[in-house]
């Protein structure tokens, strides 16, 4: 692509140009007076150089590039600076694993966990429509799918601690034929990723139950307990054990219930590595839930392929995707907003995992909506379109947020867009009838 720029080209003034007394070689001479600030493309290139320097053990180059990046990075700067800050941190984290240091990283994340109260989490998920889009689309599809049923059972696999359900409970409460009785079951294991709560799942369920009662919806909440011996294991281990417990009897599925499976930002944490000839955990999970004969399965996740084995490809893709939430936050929150910083910090946690880790420690294995759809089709599911009511609801939701948020349909998939770029996808599925 070729571009030309006209208008107020900014010329950057070097504060003390005389300092550069060294004779300029042709390259730097040509650059002088050119764009002064490192734009996104440059930063991305620098990140890639740093990563490849690390991979080639070129310590000097890595340090130099990190130094440059550090000059750009700022968690309170503009979006590029903020992104740079988190990427740089991830690269440092990676470097620390490559080179033994006197710092005791212990192979863990550089990040400290931040725990939120439930009320804070409510505000968090509504800061931008990133999560609410998925909630709204999924709840719409679920509502439609359970029409006519007197009992509904939701298996909720998500990382947002049931923030999705109050609006569904509210909608069910207003059903003309009266609300169904509702059961929600959540697994006790959860990937160790933000957003993190300072209360237990049981407490969350308790509040939800109180709300349901208030709205006169018969309600039950269950936490599907894991083997307590596994409580200190990784999520992957705990989940594999949980898989064995997802049976009709162990879940106490009832014959007259509409079973709903809700997967929100979840499938990406299930391993997609084949060990020998066995199915991957991700596909095994899909098989298991298919066997439960659900009425509907809703899958929502971020629309980006971040599971490549090549580090540079991940950096590029990640950088060119995560500018979206940063940009959205920049639109309406000031630079020093605490909420914004926290939200970005959580994204930084994700960046650190994607860029800084490999192997089983790299738990973020996001795949795009298109790939996910292919996977669902291969697993024997057929997609369900979202009805007009749901789409209108999503539209009015987006109307209430900053403009810049949009939505489009790609086949049966709904995609949230920011300034035209895909951010989150929502899909609904059911079993293929034989």
């Amino acid at each position: 692509m070729k571009t030309e720029v006209r208008g107020n080209g900014g010329s950057i003034s070097l504060q003390n140009p005389s300092l550069f007394n060294t004779p300029l070689d042709p390259i730097t001479g040509a650059l002088k007076g050119c764009l002064g600030s490192l734009d996104g493309a440059c930063i991305e290139k620098l990140l890639l150089h740093c990563a490849s320097a690390l991979e080639n053990n070129d310590v000097t180059l890595a340090q130099q590039v990190m130094w440059v990046l550090n000059n750009v990075a700022s968690t309170v700067g503009d979006t590029n600076q903020r992104l740079t800050a988190w990427f740089l941190r991830a690269l440092i984290s990676r470097a620390s694993r490559v080179c033994p240091t006197s710092m005791n990283f212990n192979g863990g994340s550089m990040f400290q966990r931040r725990l939120m109260t439930v009320t804070e989490l409510v505000g968090y998920v509504d800061l931008i429509p990133w999560h609410r889009f998925g909630f709204c689309a999924s709840n719409g599809a679920i509502f439609k799918a359970v029409e006519g049923y007197g009992k509904v059972h939701i298996l909720d696999f998500s990382i947002t601690h049931c923030m999705q359900w109050p609006t569904l409970i509210d909608a069910l409460a207003k059903r003309p034929e009266g609300p169904p009785s509702l059961r929600i079951t959540v697994p006790s294991c959860r990937p160790q990723v933000p957003p993190l709560l300072n209360v237990s799942k049981e407490e969350v369920g308790h509040r939800l139950a109180n709300f349901a009662k208030f709205r006169d919806v018969p309600f039950e909440f269950h936490v599907k307990d894991d083997d307590p011996c596994l409580s200190n294991e990784t999520f992957a281990t705990q989940f594999e054990s949980l898989l064995t417990q997802l049976t009709r009897s162990q879940l106490d599925l009832r014959y007259d219930e509409a079973l709903v499976i809700n997967c929100q930002n979840w499938l990406r944490y299930l391993s997609d590595e084949t060990k020998g000839n066995t199915t991957t955990v991700r596909d095994a999970f899909l098989d298991v839930i298919k066997g439960l004969n659900p009425r509907i399965i809703v899958v929502v996740d971020e629309d980006c392929d971040l599971s490549a084995s090549s580090l540079s490809s991940r950096i590029t893709t990640c950088f060119n995707y995560l500018w979206i939430p940063f940009d959205a936050l920049e639109t309406f929150l000031p630079k020093d907003s605490r909420q914004r910083l926290e939200y970005e910090s959580d994204i930084g946690h994700k960046i650190e995992n994607i860029v800084g880790f490999e192997g089983f420690q790299r738990t973020e294995r996001l795949e795009s909506g298109v790939k996910l759809s292919q996977r669902m089709n291969d697993a024997g599911f057929v997609s369900l379109p979202f009805c007009e009511d749901t789409i209108n609801e999503v539209k009015s939701l987006l109307d209430e947020h900053a403009s810049g948020w949009g939505m489009k349909r790609e086949e049966d998939m709904l995609v949230l867009t920011w300034k035209g770029h895909n951010s989150v996808f929502a899909t609904a599925w059911t079993e293929l009838e034989d």
Binding site: V5, L88, E202, L341
Partner: protein, 540 residues
């Protein structure tokens, strides 16, 4: 190619953003996306194109950069015959018919079906680069106006200001029309956020807990509590009806019964939620831990920063690695002329970095300032002079003080010459004095702090021992990471052995970045050029 007075060709729908599902998508449109029913006469391709990678617009698209005056102009649709300007394309087309053009000229030529994407002319803007281009003209106009333009439109009822009239209109329609109030006092303009908040409200939960006379399994007691009292003041609030049996039941039989544990949890939660949620509240006191190891840490650190330090310190159980760093920086803090609030935050970084195994503890306190060491909300962005930004009509946002070229050049010099380059403290570069003759003792000198600069760490003091092993180790120790524009790293023991000429790599880097920065030559080398077509919908 660019336009002064742009004839919009193949314009996408000019309807108001954002929610237009039916908006004319792009040339790479999916088969199922309906063409907008508006004035767009373009034939839509029905072949399905490969989806783009996120953030990568259509490589075949023509990138157009309009000037600010074009973007701000209201009459951007100009008749090529008589130069009359119109605000909308429809009006222009209607007008053109009046010129009795031959049939051929009236039709839009197929050539002009080519997709266009628009970049922002503001160099420092994120949308300046083609990979962040916006898909339609309305979008880029609105973006430019909103972001870089003056906010001329002000809402009567609240204080919000808007640069784009349609935004202002849209806001005025809903401002104050709907309000949902939770009993805790929080007000919401959106029903879904209100409902979610109401379901989980800490305050209400607390009241419920207080209302319970004794700890009992919840499903026996709920009907007697005051739960039904707090009602949202919404138009459709349902009155509390006769109590219905609701239970928080235990998981599968044979497992630990939930109700009993729920109660103690409730009470413990209540007690913590009774704490103010704000960050000023510190947990039981970790500050002494820090102060011990940080002898020079001045007591007069601002609460905010202390808060963030304390939070990390409170999680720290691995004292030994802590103290390594503490002592490392203790010496430096005495030597440099630091602003009081910096060392704690820096220590905070390394404590958090150095003790990942402490992270598994549940902190008793509610969430606090994020670790992201960017401390000073006071000072953090002052380098960039954000203060005055919104008052300017069209002003580039603040930029880093040093240009890309200068930075790269500097980095190259550091690698090659081992001079003691002390770095710009934000606004200027101090002296380039040469320090030790030893090539591998590269050290940035004392950081002279300008008042508005918040640097996390300055150079580690000159006295630190040089370790002959991998320089990256020292990088880890020396990196302040996010001190704004301070870059006072002390790369100790920068081994030259690390592979060839230390400057070679960086020169190549400069060259390649130089290519990137060369705007006219453009982005063919960017990212390896592996674009796949992307469906850019309408943008703001």
């Amino acid at each position: 190619m660019f336009f002064d007075s742009a004839l919009t060709v193949g314009s996408f729908s000019s309807r108001v953003m954002p929610v237009d599902l039916d908006n004319s998508s792009t040339a790479s449109g999916e088969a199922s996306v309906t063409s907008s029913g508006n004035q767009n006469p373009l034939p839509k391709s029905t072949a399905k194109k490969k989806r783009n990678l996120p953030g990568m617009p259509d490589p075949d698209a023509e990138v157009v950069a309009l000037s600010p005056s074009t973007l701000l102009a209201t009459n951007r649709f100009v008749c090529e015959i008589c130069n009359k300007g119109f605000q909308r394309d429809q009006n222009l087309q209607l007008h053109r018919r009046g010129h009795n053009l031959p049939w051929k000229l009236k039709q839009k030529s197929s050539k002009e079906v080519k997709k266009r994407v628009y970049v922002c002319p503001e160099i420092t803007c994120v949308h300046h680069h083609p990979s962040r281009a916006l898909g339609d003209l309305t979008g880029i106009k609105k973006h430019f106006c909103r972001k870089h333009g003056e906010k001329k439109w002000k809402c009567d009822k609240c204080s919000k200001k808007y640069a784009v009239q349609s935004d202002w209109k849209a806001h005025s329609k809903i401002c104050g029309t709907r309000e949902y109030k939770c009993d805790c006092g929080t007000v919401f303009s959106r029903r879904d956020s209100f409902i979610t908040h109401r379901a989980f409200c800490d305050v209400l939960a607390e009241e419920r807990a207080k209302a319970q006379t004794q700890p009992q399994p919840q499903n026996q007691n709920q009907t007697a509590t005051k739960e039904s009292d707090p009602k949202p003041q919404t138009p459709d609030s349902s009155p509390p009806s006769a109590p219905t049996p609701v239970s928080v039941s235990a998981p599968e039989s044979g497992k630990v019964p939930a109700p009993a544990p729920a109660v103690p949890q409730l009470t413990s939660v209540i007690s913590s939620s009774a704490l103010p949620i704000q960050s000023s509240e510190l947990p039981e006191n970790p500050s002494p831990i820090m102060e011990e190891s940080l002898a020079p840490a001045p007591a007069a650190a601002p609460t905010g920063l202390n808060g963030s330090c304390s939070s990390s310190a409170s999680l720290g159980s691995n004292g030994s690695s802590c103290s390594v760093f503490a002592s490392l920086f203790a010496s430096s803090t005495t030597s440099a002329s630091l602003k009081p609030q910096h060392p704690p935050v820096f220590i905070d970084l390394f404590q958090s970095v150095g003790q990942p195994d402490c992270l598994t503890d549940l902190a008793p306190s509610p969430s606090i300032e994020p670790i992201s060491l960017c401390l000073s909300t006071n000072h953090g962005s002052s380098i960039f002079g954000t203060a005055g930004q919104e008052h300017r009509q069209y002003a580039p946002p603040p930029q880093p003080a040093m240009s890309a070229t200068a930075l790269l050049q500097k980095a190259a010099q550091m690698g090659a010459t081992a001079t003691n380059a002390s770095l710009l403290h934000g606004l200027g570069i101090a002296s380039l004095s040469s320090s030790s003759a030893q090539q591998d003792n590269l050290q940035w000198g004392q950081r002279q702090v300008e008042p508005e600069n918040t640097s996390v760490v300055a150079g580690l003091g000159p006295g630190l021992p040089r370790d002959g092993s991998s320089g990256l180790k020292e990088l880890m120790m020396g990196t302040p990471v996010f001190g704004p524009k301070q870059a006072t790293l002390d790369f100790l023991g920068l081994g030259m052995a690390a592979g060839g000429s230390p400057n070679g790599g960086l020169s190549a880097l400069i060259t390649s970045i130089g290519d990137e920065l060369d705007v006219v030559a453009a982005a063919t080398s960017f990212g390896g050029g592996d674009f796949t077509s992307k469906d850019i919908g309408r943008s703001s």
